[in-house]
Amino acid sequence: MNKFIRNIILIAIVIYFIYYAQKHFDSYTLSILDNIGIFAILALSYNLINGIAGQFSLEPNGFVAIGAYFTAILLIPTDTKLDMFALVDPAPIILQMKAHFLPAILIGGVAASFVALLLSFPVFRVRGDYLAIVTLGFGFIIRIFAINNPAYTNGAMGLNDIPEEANFLWIGILCVITFLVMIHVIYSKFGRAMKSVRDDEDAASAMGINTFKMKTYAFMTSAFFEGVGGGLLASMLTTITPDQFSFLLTFQLLIIIVLGGLGSMSGALIATILVMGGMEWLRFLDDDIKIFGMDLGAHPGMRMVVFAILLIVMMLFARRGLLGDRELTEFFKKKSK
């Protein structure tokens, strides 16, 4: 009971902070917090399939794109749609789709989750690491579809004038909800089953765990929150194009969850702040670099080289990341005999 009250108080404090930030912080600080919040949602859900269920997946960019497109289409008013679709007239169903903000992002999440279900049949039925390559391919395919179906997605030009309804209040509260759901999942019987699949699939199935089902649950839950995150992203940025959802997004999230420790949700939260901050701080690497008066010129992509090296070095020497596969609170617990 004691613990329950403590948790309620903690959550209340966090939500009060979110409310206070939305009211009093300036717009620059809020935009950074928005970004961190959305990436935290994505990293937490990505961690479920990679860290908890142990299935290496490269899906976030694809599912974020699905969530973003669904939300955008549901939010943009009909008149704006008619103006915006320049290449071909929008399909009738696109014009009819309309929803308020919260249903819109939830529908985005459900759509992503449904696609995850479809993908899991070919991928999880067989042993091996096909999930990684299928999800990597899926990220590219979704872009090809978006470009080739201008009646639904306005093609390569993307969608703009998306109503900016996502603010830090929404993002922050959804981030808290995501965190609570993830914690709830990993300490439930599903979470334990997922971890057993990660640690030894043969042993898990010998214990009567339906490994296909567990992997699919983890994948669909991940996809749902990634779709929601995508919806928030679309509404925050107000424009989306197919090229925005490139592999780079997935790579950033991979760095985050590896740094935080695969399987640790609190680690993912801490790492999100570190990596998002680091991305900003290392921005100078992409600009002109001058050493001893020598102008080495601008090197766009240098940051990504640094992050790729960081990922490889972490995998080689510090595979457990910041928190390993434990939660922050577990470090303070006394070891039970």
């Binding site: 142990g54 290496f56 991928v123 690491d129 990684a132 299928v134 090809i144 080739n148 766009p300 995998m315």
Partner: protein
Amino acid sequence: MDMQIFLQQLVNGASLGSMYALIAIGYTMVYGVLRLINFAHGDIMMVGAYFTFFAKAAGLPFEVAVLIGIIGAAIVGILTDKIAYKPLRDAPKISLLITAIGISFFLENLFTVLFGSTPKAFSAPEYLTKIFHIHGIYLPISVIIIPTVTLLILAVVLWILYKTKYGMAIRALAFDIQTVKLMGIDADRIIMIVFAIGSALAAIGGIFYAISYPSIDPLMGIIVGLKAFAAAVLGGIGSVGGAVVGGFILGFTEIFVVAMFPELGGYKDAFAFFFLILVLLFKPTGIMGQDLERGRF
């Protein structure tokens, strides 16, 4: 479709399929011995093409440049194994896969930083770009040379695999790595040879790609690599002959579907993905593959 167009598409498909086949062999061999999807393999192909490009730009004759490209790619392939994969042999599989994707991203961005992201024009010597005109069919000589060289290379690889001591060791490694070590075989050396062969073939594929679409860029390996992996799964992952069959099937499909239904042209890059899904759904072992997992128990 009349006969001329059919034949024209047939040679085009064979040439495209050869490239996929060459790259797929590398995927399938590495997967066979390490059970690792080597995400960096597509990028090794890009590295080979770039080495060739720069050797040629430095004034070396084309043949020497090709040789440098192949050897350079083989060295990069061996180095990725030594630096990134070897220390993780006993680590959980997910660590190895994350490292592989890290290497892939590293190579793509390193080459972008060093050489810019704009495509570079790749000019092949004249004897490779000459165009014959037979009965209304346009035959760039490269379209003949590429499948021929591919089949020759396949013969050499199969000879190595089935007629030499090293080949026997590679096949044994694919079956059970622990037992092979107990037999006194230096497993790491054999794995090094596998990476060298796979990377060299990827470089040849990359050079063929550069000759056919005369330009190269740092990200050219991603899509081609994905397709080649799909080809390897289609043919049966772990089987070299299967990789070649899968590569050719994919090449012919891409060319013929686009020729017959031009409106599907935009989805050309998606076919491989659907093949991959279909194979995983209905015949995960592919056309010529064996169940690798069962073989280990």
